[in-house]
């Protein structure tokens, strides 16, 4: 069965600093990969997705992620964090050859210091 690991439960960065959130997946083939963000009291907003093609994908709010097959990773990055980026970030995996259920990681809580 597929699984998703987000090794960092909580990350704190200063505003303006760069950010990288880690995501590793376990799956026999190349899955579909997603990053969602959840602000307090809000639902899950899609940041970006990878289905195929260019392994560096751009998303909303200045985020990008890179798919690395050799490392089974799909890390999320942002060059300069804004205070409004404080939220919980979820990596998710979908199985290309099966139905449509997403498997989520446990999330990384991002705190941004002024």
């Amino acid at each position: 069965a597929q699984s998703v690991t987000q090794p960092d439960i909580h990350i704190t960065v200063s505003e303006g600093a760069s950010l990288e959130l880690r995501c590793n997946y376990s799956y026999g083939a190349t899955p579909y990969l997603f990053w969602y963000v959840q602000s307090p009291g809000q639902g899950l907003q899609l940041l970006l997705k990878y289905f195929s093609g260019d392994t560096l994908v751009q998303g909303i709010k200045g985020f990008e992620a890179e798919f690395k097959r050799s490392q089974s990773s799909f890390n999320l990055r942002k060059p300069s964090v804004h205070w409004s980026d404080a939220a919980e970030y979820f990596c998710a995996v979908g199985r290309p050859s099966s139905a449509r259920q997403l498997t989520f990681g446990s999330g990384t809580q991002l705190t941004v210091l002024p």
């Binding site: 579909y32 997603f34 969602y36 639902g43 899950l44 050859s97 449509r100 259920q101 989520f104």
Partner: protein, 118 residues
């Protein structure tokens, strides 16, 4: 931009009572989903729904749960006899159904309904 909406935002119920959580998916989407997130835990898939029937369900989605699309816009999750462990945030999602049949496409989530079972 179209979005998935859910009502109510918070539902409090007594153990053993029936609850219905409501969702309005994005209007031209073909697939609908329910997920739940118990406090402090991962978001978990419950069920997917297509063409007026369940297309996939998880082990969590037992006989206490049912889904329905009662009209052209609403999508509901019913829990027949709530248990304390059903307390969670329930997310509805929808997806266009683009691409190859059976393949994942992008799911758009609603804001969630927080269910508290007392």
């Amino acid at each position: 931009e179209p979005e998935v909406t859910q009502t109510p935002s918070h539902q409090v119920t007594q153990m053993g009572q029936e609850v219905i959580l409501r969702c309005v998916p994005i209007s031209n989407h073909l697939y609908f989903y329910w997920y739940r997130q118990i406090l402090g835990q991962k978001v978990e898939f419950l069920v997917s729904f297509y063409n007026n029937e369940i297309s996939e369900k998880s082990e969590i989605f037992d006989d206490q749960f049912s889904v329905e699309r009662p009209d052209g816009s609403n999508f509901t999750l019913k829990i027949r006899s709530t248990k304390l462990e059903d307390s969670a945030m329930y997310f509805c999602a929808s997806s266009p159904g683009e691409g190859l049949a059976g393949h994942t496409d992008t799911q758009y989530f609603g804001p969630g309904t927080r269910l508290t079972v007392l």
